[in-house]
Every structure is written in structure tokens, then in C-alpha cells.
């Protein structure tokens, strides 16, 4: 070798493969305003559709008069439920097994519900038309409080379900009841509570909020009457699922539906489901023969499309007096609004809430979830979390702090005492999951050492003493959170959406010159898949990431995938990418053996090509193998170098982490200051540390927002009072704390590259850390649990109720 021969380190670095902080390829276009989002699409003759919406939360629709609207210049059509009935689309199925009105069919069930769809030549004319549609309503009593949904005298919301005492998930107990879902051993758990030395019980609410990506939900539908083909451009986190759903409900052949998800301006769960806007735009295009665009505005987004959370969790923990947990009992009242439009795998009405035993070795547990209807917007989506996992993590992490307070134990010590031990993995939880891997003690201790946890507790004790002496009006809280997520849905044995198993897929096609294209069934909304997917392939096959183009979001070209949500892309699509790359590599090895005139088994892969074992000078690069694949493959072998993989994961993955929030609160104003926030994440193998850090920053910021103020709130008569960014807390750079990130690495044993997924961990772990900090700050004044969100006013109110403020 001479000096010009690249070293192994240089060859590895040139690939920009897994583990390196590769700069994002997406950014070249995004920083220049050259992204292509749905609202950027302008097709010839394109029309605009917009909704007439209900001002009432609950009312009968007596009459819709569109005669004046149709006289407005530019208005071409007004679509109502009656129009939709002619094509059997007045109602649509939800992913949760319920049905939902596309347009008000005789009744409205939440404020801002879609009542009519006005189609016009431009968005201004559509608005003019909306103002001229006259709807006559007969108001009905609204049902706002989910705790009153199953009262005897509660107004019946869903008249379509009256008398149907069984739903998609079993028996219904009341006309406003959706399902009851139970998991675990009730008898054993009751017995554990009967003999418990110590018990706690608390109703822990996780308020209603909204994912609210900066780009709202939108689509352009274009029906070609001659070809009978429907093309839908949309903000879809799961484009293939949309294609299948449209085919099933619109009775169009699936090969004649082309779904294209271009660049997406954030999703966070908001863009998984199917909304009335998509159906109406498609019908309008079929009716008018022209492309129709629907773009929701922010108020519509916040008030009509897919809220998140709204879980009210009565939580009990049994323990020994020295702090060993012996049982967990949780009852959840789940407010689903007017229609159950949760975006969970079909068999899981409460998602994976049964991860609620968290990171702790509970010998027994029992869980029951009751879903109910109210006069609120439908949804229940996973806002930057796997299905109902953030609710579960919040529930158990608050409960552990409440137990620690009761036992007068340090919350970190209580957790260390009850963690599942490294040697217990794979661990079978009392509520039915098999945790793949974890080393919780190491992560927790690293957090405690790095943050100087013991010193912070000492400082807190001093401050409390000073507060009691009247020397300060500031209180200090330490919010400990240790979460275990369950992501990567999921194995076909227990996860499907409308009967389609939740696999994911990748197709890789290598070109003769050593470059290639990878098409994947996932769909980035900002996660940077174009960058990271190429890094996996680069490491697997030894072709520089810069030479791999990643394409997602076109259902005609990408293999069928279930999309991106629930942190499933790396665990499922990431695995499919690695497996497809390994198929490429296996064929490349056969070609290399032929060209180097040795047996395949005499070759070893070496960074960017194959080398003959023991003969380092006999080497063939992957680049050269790509060329050979197109002109001199072994006799009998098909030319070309491409592969496809559909990956059905054997298990979920279980990322975890240890977070600490240090917060000071002024009791006289309720103003808080997040002095420090430390987040240690273990997401297994790390593909791109820069992107992981960015995901953690973003998820923590969303967690901060949710815990400290972000709420979709209704008044007592069903008006939604948080319909804009003025009222719905959206932190700016000024309020957002500084984030410290750290990590440990415990690979997933069943994933081809050991990766677990990270995008949602910081939301799941962050919310309890903030809430525990507030609760920890107030606990010495005598409180056990203060409900979220912890805005200034509520903090002040808590201080007042606890007697800290006159």
C-alpha cells in the first residue's frame, strides 16, 4: 500500500454510514424554500373546497339552504350529506372500528363539525359561499363532562347506535359508551391490594391537547373521468393505508388510485387518520371533473381534526412498607368525543396503554378502560407517542412519585428499588408485553451522577427550610421520570390496521455506476428519512450514502408500507431497509466470487467491497460489483442488482430513558423557571446522533408545552375556547428551556441493526418529568397531586389552596 491508499477509517468515513452525524440532504431544498408541500401544488383548472361548520356542539340540523350560496360568483357546488348519500359516503369508517359522519347527517355532535362543503374557483370565493349557506339548527343539550356520559339522564349523542349494545370492541353499557377494555389478573391484583402494607390512590388526568403540526391537514384530489383514476396529493403519514381506505369506501379499484404524500410540514400523529376534507375533495373532483384542493386553517385544525389524550386515570399502587411494589390497578375513563376516531392498531381500543406497569417489576396488575362519547371533536391520536403510551407513562410516573411521597422515600431510590433488572430481559410484564432489552439501573445512575442529583436534593431541602423561615418566596422541584416505551408496531400476530398487518417495506435498486435508489413504505414528516435511510444502506452494502436516493410517499412506486407514526419507522421500515440491503449484499457476494474466481465462502465483506480471505490485494469494490451486475454475472444468474424486503417484526422495541427537570416556582405569581432539563435516552443502536439529538429537543419542547399549558379546553356548554395559537400554548424560543441530552446504548436483540426508535421518547418521558417537578415543588406544602397543565395561573392557584399565598 502506498500513501495514497485510503485508510480503513477514511473508507468508512467516506460512506457516511450509521453512527455519523451526516448533514441532512433534505435541507438543501428546505433552506431555499424549494420544498414541495401540498398547498404548493397547483393543477390546471383546480378548484377550492371549504367547510360550513357548526356553531353548536349538539343540535339537530333542520334544513340546509344553499340557494343563495350557489348565486355567489365562483361558487360551483355545495355538497351536503344528502349529496354524499347518493354515493354512499355520508359516513365513513374510522380506524377504531366506529363510523363517523363526513358531513352532518341530521345532527351535529361537536362545535365546528363539518356541515357542508362549498366548492369554488378560488379560496376567497369558497369563503363567500360559506357565508351564504343558511343552516337551521335546533340546539340540543350538550354533554361535555365525560364523567357524566353514562349518567341515566345523559343526552344520547349517537342516535345511529341506539339499541346497539355491542360495538367493535365488545359490549356497550350505555348509549354513550363505546367500549370497555380489560387486561390483567383482577383476582390476583385485588388479593395483592387486600394484603398490601401501603396503598396509594389518585385520579390522574391527562388533559385533551392537539398535535398541531405547523402545516395543517390538506389535500388535492384529481379525478380523471376518462381513465377512471383518482390521484390524491395529501399530508399523509400513511399513504398506502389511505389508498386502501379510499378504495374500500369509495369502491374504486385500488390500482386506479394514486396517493402521493409530498413534503410534509410536521405530523405528530395529526396526519394518520382520514378526515372529511379528503372525502369531500375527492367527491367534489368526481362531481366537477376538476382537481379540488382542501386546505384546513389553523382554527379548523385545532378544533376539528384529531385531538390527543383526554384520559382520566384512577390509579392505585400497592406496596410493602419498605417500598417494593406489589400490585397496580388502573381504571381509565377515555373521552373520545363524538366519534371514536383513534388511530390505533385495530384490535387495541386503548392502544398499548397496558405498558402502564412501566419500568417496574409489578408481580400483578389489572387495567380497565371505558371509552365514552361526548360533544367534542373526534380523535384520540398518538401525539408524538406510540398509541396511548404517553398517557401510560404519565400515569405510572406520577403514581411512583405519589408512592415515594407516602413512603417518605426519594423518588429516584424508589424507582431503583423496583426496576426490572438487566438479567430479567426478555421480561414478561404483568399486563402481557415482552420487553426486549434494557439496563435501567445504569441509565438512572448515570442521570443521577451527571446532574448531581444528591446535591440538588440537598439544595431543595435548604430552600424549603428557607421558605418556611420566610426568607424566600420561591419553591424548588425535582422532576424525576424513568420511562419505558413500546414502539415499532408491529408484529402481524397482534397488530393490524383494518386487517392489514403492520409490516413495513423497502425496495433497493442499484444502478450500474454504483449509485441507487431506495423506496420505502414509511413517510417522513421532518424526521430526515432521506438522510438516515441512506446511512443504513451505506453501512450495509458499502456504497456512500450520498449515492443513495431515498424516495417515500408515492404509492405507485414505493412498496406497501404502513407509514410513519408511533416511532415505528426505524424499528420496522429501518429493519426492512437493512434486510433489503443484505439481499443486495448476498447477490453482490456471488458476483464478486465469480469475478475474483473464488468460492463465495472465501470472501469477506470489508467496508466497501469484498476481499478474498487471507489475500488482501484481491478485492472488488461494491461500485465495481454494481457494474458487473449489469454485464458479467455468473452463468444462470439474472442480471441486475435489486431487492425488496417486507419486514414483519418479531416483537415491538422498548426504548427507555431517565429524565430530570429542575424547576423553581414563584408562589406569588405562579411563574416557573425550568432551570435545568437533562434527558438520557436509550434508543438502542444510534443511526445519526445529530438527528437523534434534534428529535429529542423537539419532543421535549412538545412535552414542555403539554405539561405546562397546552390544552384543548371546552367551556361548560361545549364551546371550544382554545381555537388559535393565542389561546393554545405554543412555546416560542423565549419560553422554551435549554435541553441537555445524553445516552446509553442497549441494542434491541431482535432488530437487524439493534435500533429501537427515538422520535417520541422525549414526549413520553418529558411530560411526567415536568409534572413531577411541579408536584415535587409543592409536595412539602401538603399536596399529593396537582393536575396538568401547570400554567402560571394554576400554579398560583395551587399555592393559594395550599396556604402558601394569603
Amino acid at each position: 500500500m502506498n500513501d495514497l491508499t485510503p485508510t480503513r477509517e477514511q473508507r468508512t468515513a467516506a460512506l457516511e454510514g450509521m453512527g455519523c452525524k451526516r448533514k441532512r440532504v433534505e435541507d438543501i431544498r428546505f433552506t431555499q424554500g424549494r420544498g414541495s408541500y401540498v398547498d404548493d401544488i397547483k393543477l390546471p383548472g383546480m378548484l377550492h373546497g371549504d367547510f360550513v361548520r357548526s356553531p353548536h356542539p349538539h343540535a339537530r340540523v333542520k334544513k340546509i339552504d344553499d340557494s343563495e350560496a350557489l348565486k355567489v360568483p365562483g361558487v360551483l357546488a355545495v355538497i351536503t350529506a344528502e349529496t354524499l348519500k347518493t354515493v354512499n359516503l355520508a359516513w365513513m369508517p374510522t380506524l377504531a372500528g366506529d363510523v363517523q359522519m363526513v358531513l352532518a347527517d341530521g345532527k351535529v355532535l361537536f362545535q365546528n363539525q363539518e356541515v357542508a362543503f362549498v366548492v369554488a374557483t378560488d379560496r376567497y370565493a369558497a369563503d363567500d359561499g360559506i357565508n351564504k349557506v343558511v343552516v337551521e339548527y335546533e340546539p340540543l343539550p350538550p354533554l361535555v363532562d365525560p364523567f357524566k356520559s353514562m349518567d341515566k339522564d345523559a343526552p344520547v349523542l349517537r342516535e345511529d347506535l341506539v339499541g346497539k349494545m355491542s360495538g367493535a370492541h365488545g359490549p356497550r353499557k350505555h348509549d354513550n359508551h363505546i367500549f370497555e377494555w380489560t387486561v390483567g389478573d383482577k383476582e390476583l391484583t385485588d388479593a395483592a391490594f387486600n394484603k398490601a402494607e401501603v396503598k396509594i390512590k389518585e385520579m390522574i388526568s391527562y388533559h385533551r391537547t392537539h398535535p398541531s403540526p405547523l402545516e395543517t391537514c390538506q389535500c388535492v384530489c384529481s379525478f380523471d373521468k376518462i381513465k377512471g383514476e383518482l390521484t390524491i396529493y395529501g399530508t399523509f403519514q400513511a399513504p398506502h393505508v389511505i389508498r386502501t381506505v379510499v378504495s374500500l369506501i369509495a369502491k374504486l379499484p385500488e390500482h386506479k388510485i394514486h396517493v402521493i404524500a409530498p413534503d410534509i410540514g410536521g405530523g405528530f400523529g395529526n396526519k394518520v387518520g382520514a378526515y372529511p376534507g379528503y372525502i369531500c375533495a375527492a367527491v367534489a373532483s368526481i362531481v366537477t371533473g376538476k382537481p379540488v384542493k382542501w386546505v384546513e386553517d389553523r382554527i379548523e385544525n385545532l378544533t376539528a381534526t384529531s385531538f390527543a389524550r383526554d384520559y382520566h386515570m384512577t390509579t392505585e399502587v400497592a406496596a410493602t412498607k419498605d417500598g417494593k411494589v406489589t400490585g397496580l390497578r388502573v381504571h381509565v375513563l377515555a373521552d373520545h368525543g363524538a366519534f371514536d376516531a383513534c388511530a390505533d392498531p385495530s384490535k387495541w381500543p386503548a392502544g398499548f396503554f397496558n405498558i402502564v406497569t412501566g419500568s417496574y417489576d409489578f408481580p400483578t396488575a389489572h387495567l380497565a378502560v371505558d371509552g365514552v362519547y361526548t360533544n367534542k371533536a373526534p380523535g384520540g391520536v398518538a401525539y408524538r407517542c406510540s398509541f396511548r403510551v404517553t398517557e401510560a407513562a404519565y400515569c405510572i410516573e406520577r403514581a411512583m412519585d405519589i408512592l415515594a411521597q407516602k413512603l417518605n422515600m426519594d423518588p429516584a431510590e424508589l424507582r431503583l428499588k423496583n426496576f426490572i433488572k438487566p438479567e430479567q430481559f426478555p421480561y414478561h410484564s404483568a399486563l402481557g408485553w415482552e420487553y426486549d432489552s434494557g439496563d435501567y439501573h445504569t441509565a438512572m445512575r448515570k442521570m443521577m451522577e451527571t446532574t448531581g442529583y444528591a446535591a440538588l436534593r440537598k439544595e431543595q431541602a435548604d430552600k424549603r427550610a428557607a421558605f418556611k423561615r420566610g426568607e424566600t418566596r420561591e419553591i424548588m422541584g425535582l422532576g424525576v421520570s424513568f420511562f419505558t416505551e413500546i414502539v415499532g408496531a408491529g408484529p402481524s400476530k397482534n397488530c393490524d390496521i383494518l386487517g392489514i398487518a403492520m409490516f413495513d417495506s423497502c425496495e433497493i435498486r442499484m444502478h450500474p455506476t454504483g449509485a441507487g435508489i431506495a423506496r420505502v413504505g414509511s413517510k417522513s414528516q421532518g424526521q430526515g428519512h432521506e438522510t438516515t435511510w441512506a446511512q443504513i444502506i451505506a453501512t450495509e452494502i458499502g456504497i456512500p450514502a450520498d449515492n443513495i436516493m431515498v424516495e417515500e410517499g408515492n404509492t405507485d412506486t414505493a412498496p406497501y408500507g404502513l407509514g410513519t407514526y408511533g416511532s415505528r419507522s426505524t424499528p420496522v421500515a429501518g429493519a426492512a431497509i437493512a434486510m433489503a440491503a443484505r439481499k443486495i449484499k448476498a447477490k453482490a457476494q456471488m458476483i464478486a466470487a465469480y469475478k475474483l474466481e473464488v468460492h463465495e465462502d472465501d470472501l469477506e465483506f470489508d467496508i466497501d467491497g469484498f476481499r478474498v480471505k487471507g489475500l488482501p490485494e484481491k478485492f472488488m469494490s461494491m461500485k465495481d460489483i454494481c457494474w458487473a451486475a449489469y454485464n458479467s454475472v455468473p452463468p444462470g444468474m439474472e442480471p441486475g442488482l435489486e431487492a425488496v424486503s417486507y419486514y414483519d417484526p418479531p416483537n415491538m422495541t422498548y426504548p427507555f430513558g431517565a429524565y430530570l427537570c429542575v424547576m423553581d416556582i414563584d408562589v406569588d405569581t405562579g411563574v416557573y423557571n425550568v432551570r435545568r432539563f437533562y434527558a438520557l435516552d436509550d434508543c438502542g443502536t444510534r443511526i445519526n446522533p445529530m438527528i437523534i439529538e434534534g428529535q429529542v429537543h423537539g419532543g421535549l419542547t412538545e412535552a414542555f408545552a403539554i405539561a405546562m399549558g397546552q390544552e384543548i379546553r371546552y367551556d361548560e356548554v361545549g364551546n371550544v375556547v382554545t381555537g388559535s395559537f393565542m389561546d393554545f400554548f405554543m412555546p416560542t424560543a423565549v419560553e422554551t428551556p435549554h435541553w441537555e441530552t445524553d445516552f446509553t446504548v442497549t441494542p434491541s436483540p431482535h432488530h437487524p441493526i439493534g435500533a429501537k426508535g427515538v422520535g417520541e421518547s422525549p414526549n413520553v418521558g418529558g411530560v411526567p418529568a415536568f409534572s413531577n417537578a411541579v408536584n415535587d415543588a409543592f409536595s412539602f406544602l401538603g399536596s399529593t397531586h396537582i393536575q396538568m397543565p401547570h400554567d402560571f395561573w394554576r400554579n398560583w392557584k395551587a399555592a393559594k389552596q395550599l396556604g402558601a399565598v394569603a
Binding site: D39, S724, F725, M726
Partner: protein, 166 residues
Amino acid sequence: MAKTHVTMKVNGAEVEGLVEPRTLLVHFIRENLQMTGTHIGCETTHCGACTVDIDGMSVKSCTMFAVQADGSDITTIEGMANADGTLSALQEGFRMMHGLQCGFCTPGMIVRAHRLLKENASPSEAEIRMGISGNICRCTGYQNIVKAIQYASAKINGVEFQEAAE
């Protein structure tokens, strides 16, 4: 509705168009001029995705009528790159510091940061955070956006960028 003739300079080029008095500037830019880099996130002046630079000021173009911009000099994200087509210091900073994820707030954020650095070439972290507080980002948590602007500030001032210790 009667239309009004407007002329303005956008990214150095003279443009004109016929608009209704109620046409928002952001719609004129996006739909008449077909420059779609300027985005719409809220239509209520909160999010800043539609920020453009008008006569030396950052303006949210969803809250201004096109007729109000008649005769003005506007710069949008499409006019932010260097004259030779390479990425400007800010654009480069956003990429190098991972200051964007979904890219939807990015044009408004860069246009705003451009004006911020014109007003104050060496802002402190607190000044940067206050200076971009009219622009909402849902993905990044702002920390890397702050770094991106610091990177650009250093490059514009010809000094070496030093990341603050964590």
C-alpha cells in the same frame, strides 16, 4: 370583485398583478407570483411561517393585503441565497447546526433571522431567542435554530464559530 393593479419589487425583480383589495399578500406571493417558499401556518399572525422582508422590516404576509404592499421592496426565502446561487451564511448555518426538521417554518425563520442579523450582527443568545419569538417551530425546540443563527453571525463577522458548551 373589482381588481386593483399593484407593482412591487420581489427579490430584485419588478412584478405586477391584478388583485382584489382583500387578497392577502401571502396569497399574492404564493399564487400569483408562484413563489411557494413562503408558507402559511396559522393565518392569525402567530406562527411566522409567512414572514417576508418588506422595506427592511420583517412582516407576516398573512396579515397584510397585497394592495398595502404596492410599491414596496420585498425579499422572500427565494431571494436569500448568495448571488452566485450558493447557500447564504444563514442557510448554511441551518443545515450545519440541524436547525430544521420538517422545513415548514424554515423559510420564515431564515427571513426573520436575516433581518435580525442586519439589525444586530452579533446578537447574544437571549437576543436571538427574543428576536425570533414571532416565529413558531414545532420540530426543533429552537436550540439548534439559535446555534444556526450564531453560526451565521460568526461567518458574517469573519470569526470562527464556537459552539457553546452544553
